[in-house]
Amino acid sequence: MVEHNNSIIKTKKLKKRYYGNTYAVNGIDLEIEEGKITGFLGPNGAGKSTTIKMLLGLLEPTEGEIYVFNKRLTPDNPRIRKGIGYMPELPKFPNYLTGQELLRIYGELQFVPEKQLDKEIPELLEEVNLYKDKDRKIKEYSKGMQQRIGLAAAFLGNPKLIILDEPTIGLDPVGMSDIKNIIKSKAKGGTTIFLSSHLLKEVEEMCDNVIIINKGTILASGTINEVIKKGTSKNVLEIEVDGKSIDKIANSLKNLPYVDELNISNGIISLTLNTKEDIRYEVSKLVVENGGFVLMMKYKNVSLEEAFLEILNG
C-alpha cells in the first residue's frame, strides 16, 4: 500500500461480513490521494460497491476504521458528508421531480446555500448538457440523461471529494464519452475523484491512481504505471527484421540466455524475456551478425487490462 500524507480517505483493516462467514470486504487498507482521480477496479462482486457504501456511512463496517477528511467516520457524524458528492451505480432519483427541482432539493439536503444554488444549478445543467431538459420530469429522462443528472447532483456544492460508482455503466459510446469528459474537466479543478468501475480502458484513460480489489481484498494499488508494472511478469520484446534471413536470426536469438519463448508472426519476432533489463543493444548486434537489419524493435506495451488480468490470476 502506498502511503500518502495528503490522503482524503483512509481505511484501516476494513471488513464487512454479510451472511455467516462471507466477507464482502476483508480487511482493506485504502488511501485516496487528494486532488487525484483514483480508479477502484475489480470484477463484479469484488467488494467495490460495499466499500463505497461503507465510505459513505451507508453500511456499517463489521470491523475496521474509516477516516474521511482526517475525521473518523461514525454513524453519529453525518455532516461529514457535506464535503462528499456521490453518484450511485445506475442512480434512482425521485422521478416525480424535474431535473432542476432535483438539483435544488438535493442541494438543500447537502446544505448548499440558496444563493450558491441559484448560480450553480444552471451552470451544472449546462455542464451536463441538460439545460434544455431542466423542466422535464426525471421519469421522462433516458438512462444517459439520468446518469448525467446524477453526475450534476454529485457536483452540487463543489465538494472536495466525489465518489462515482460505475458512472458509465449501461451507456452507449457517446454517452460514455460525455461522462468521461465531464469527470475529467471537474478533476482539472482539483477535486478528488474516487471512481469505481470494471471498465479498464475507462480507468486507464481517466485515472492517476488505481486500486485493484478482488474477493474483498486489495491486490494492487499505486499509479497506473506502477500497477501495470506489478501486473507484468513477462517482458516481451518485438523485433521486425529484414525478411531474408529471419529463420537464421530467430535461431540465434532463441539461444540467448534471457529468452524464454520466441514467436514469429507477420514477420515480427516476439521474444518473451525472463529479465527486465534492456537487451536491445545485444539483440540488434546479433541481428546484424546474422546478416539482417533491424527495421523496428520495441518492448510491447502492456495495457492495464492485461496487467489487471494477470494480477487477478495471481
Binding site: Y18, S49, T50, K53, L56, L58, L59, E60, D76, N77, P78, R79, I80, R81, K82, I84, Y86, P88, E89, L90, P91, K92, F93, P94, N95, Y96, L97, E101, I105, Y106, E108, L109, Q110, F111, G150, A153, D165
Partner: protein, 279 residues
Amino acid sequence: MENFSLTALKYIIKYELIWNIRKAKLYFVLALVLALSFIVTYFMAKFVTGISAGDFWYVSLTELSSWFFLLLIASTISMNTISGEFESGSILPLLSKPISREEIYFGKYLAIAIIVLLELLLLSFALVVFSYMLKGAPSDVWKLGVLWLAISLSALVYAAFTMMLSSISKNSIVALMGTFGVLFGMTIAVGIYSIMNSAPYWFSFFPFLGTDGLMASTYNALSTPNAYVKNNSGLGKASLLPWTNLQYTGMETLLSVIYIALFLFIGFYYFNNSDIKES
C-alpha cells in the same frame, strides 16, 4: 445536537411534501372520503332522528373518526413514506446526504402529519358547511377545534403505525394491509371477547378499537353527548368509566401521544438498522 437540526428537518419536510402533493392518490382519497361522508351526512339528516339541529354538524364530523376513513386518510399516505424509497431505489442518494437518519425519519413523519392535518381541516370545513346547508346554523362551533384535534390525533396514530410497518417491511402494500389486518383483527377479537364477557373500560385504551378510543371520550367531554353519539362511541361506555369525562379525555390524549411516540421509535429503530446492500 449535531445530528438533529431544524434546517435539515425543514429540507426533509419539503422533500416529502413535494412527493406527496404530487401523488394522484392523495386527491383520489380526499375526493372519496368527501363523497362518502357527504352521502352519509345526507342520509343521516334525512333519516336519523334525535339529533338537534345545532348539534348536527359535529355529529356529522364523527364519521371522519371511523377506522375506514382514518385508514384512507392517514395510512394511504404513510404506507410508502419509507418503503417507497427502498422500492424505488431513491433511498441510496437520500441517505448519502449529510442528513442523519433521525432527521429523515422524523422529518418525513412531520410532513405526513402536516398533510393529514390539512386534509382533515379541509374535510371538517366541508362537512360543517354541508351540515349547515342541510340543518341550518350550528351551535357551539368552538367544538370544531376540539374535534379536529381529536380526529387528527387518531389519524396520526394510524400514520405512525403504518409508517412503522413500512419501515419494518420495506413494502408499501404490506404496510397498508398490515395496518388493516391489525385493526381488523383487534376489533374482531375484542368484539368476540365483549360478547362473551363484559369489556373492561381499559379496552378503550387500545389503539384501533373502533374509533381508536380517543374519539369516544372526546365526545363525552364535549358535555352534551346524545344517544346517537353514545351508541357510536365504541367501547367508551360511560357507565364503565371510572373518571370524569375530562380526565378520561386527558388520559386518552396522552395515550395517543404515547402510541405515536412508540410506533415512531420502533419504526425508526428498524430504519436506523437497515443496511443498504446492493443497489
